[in-house]
Subunit: 228 residues, 2 copies
């Protein structure tokens, strides 16, 4: 007889997956870059959201032929945080996010959050979402490298006590899908970050849902026994 596999465990990205904050981050980066007289077409910033901030900044700067010193890089990241804080009062939970997490609790399934963002900016978001203290949370501050490196999802699975290969990683960006694959987890994509389904499929998402509400509606597609 084979050994039955463990129950699925969910590791969620935060920004753009559970809360509607991607576009605020896009604007905050653009405004921070403006302070350095750097104009980057906004879609290029959007396509990098979900990466760790160091990689994001390096990518958009290289693409536009700019260079910053380490100190300026640090300042740029701080200014992003400053502008994001100004915009964050408009950030709301995505449709079905709270209901999905409540349902996983009812079903007795483990879930956690793994975000490239800094711990400082994550706290208020978790409170707003109503999940503060309810689950393991891994932030960019807890690991040496954020997405698309696999560290965050490896740490998230470890915090849930499961092997990463049985974790279901739910994210909205290409970088979530790549990091999920590198962690040997199964990636599931949501359209809530403004990436197209095709971009997530190119990143080897196994399933695509519009938003957390749509995922909740189709939990059985992921092998969750919702009739129990």
């Amino acid at each position: 007889m084979f050994t039955p596999p463990p129950d699925p465990a969910f590791v969620f990205d935060l920004d753009g997956t559970l809360v509607d904050s991607v576009y605020q981050h896009v604007f905050a980066w653009q405004r921070a870059l403006e302070e350095f007289d750097i104009t980057i077409p906004i879609w290029r910033v959007h396509r990098r959201i979900g990466m760790g901030s160091d990689l994001l900044a390096a990518a958009v700067l290289r693409e536009s032929g700019h260079r910053l010193t380490d100190e300026e890089h640090e300042q740029l990241t701080q200014r992003h945080g400053h502008y994001y804080a100004q915009l964050s009062d408009s950030v709301q939970p995505l449709p079905g996010a709270r209901e999905l997490l409540d349902r996983l609790d009812e079903l007795g399934l483990a879930w956690g959050i793994a975000t490239s963002g800094a711990k400082k900016e994550t706290g208020p978001v978790l409170q707003m979402l109503g999940v503060d203290g309810r689950c393991p949370v891994v932030t960019g501050d807890d690991v040496p490298f954020a997405k698309p490196d696999p560290h965050l999802f490896l740490a998230g699975a470890e915090a849930l006590g499961v092997d990463p290969s049985v974790a279901i990683v739910v994210g909205d960006s290409t970088w979530d899908m790549l990091a999920a694959r590198r962690a040997r987890a199964v990636g599931v994509g949501l359209l809530t970050g403004g990436f197209a389904a095709s971009e997530l499929v190119e990143g080897h998402a196994f399933r695509i849902y519009a938003d957390p509400a749509d995922l909740l509606e189709h939990l059985d597609e992921l092998g969750v026994r919702v009739t129990n």
Copy 2:
């Protein structure tokens, strides 16, 4: 002998195609909707940018189960204009936009602009882009129906004195591509509006370029004799 076809003529969309204004429009709609206590996930607004404002508003309201009176619809559109005006000082020409239009002038090729936007908000954008008075401009105010209806591109081709079927329509959104097809024009997509290449290809774009600079670099792919 066959009758040689006329030279290609270009009809450009404005927002997201020649100027980097899509994300400002997204935010302006979100803020306007907030005034009516309507929360719409931001990606759903983004995916509708490029439509005429009446269709955009109707689509996102229906999707979220809200209804507004005709008067409230009018107010909503006005508030979008108000918030967009606040954000429009951050709008810049997209990379290569000015150079592309200058090059078409050098080559003696006809070009014009067809935008779903209102005439009032289009004027300052054309001035910033440096094209005011240089080309025919058709706005949402000039036609009964904006994109994805074909009226704007039909009117744009007529203003250039060409049959719509020989016009090359350049746009950044699904709605440009659909309107181009319905006008029997050839659609060419740019990634500058934050739509994925696949979304533009699904809209039957014949070629995809990153931005106006990339299109300028590859004008010969569209049958433009750039060596003359």
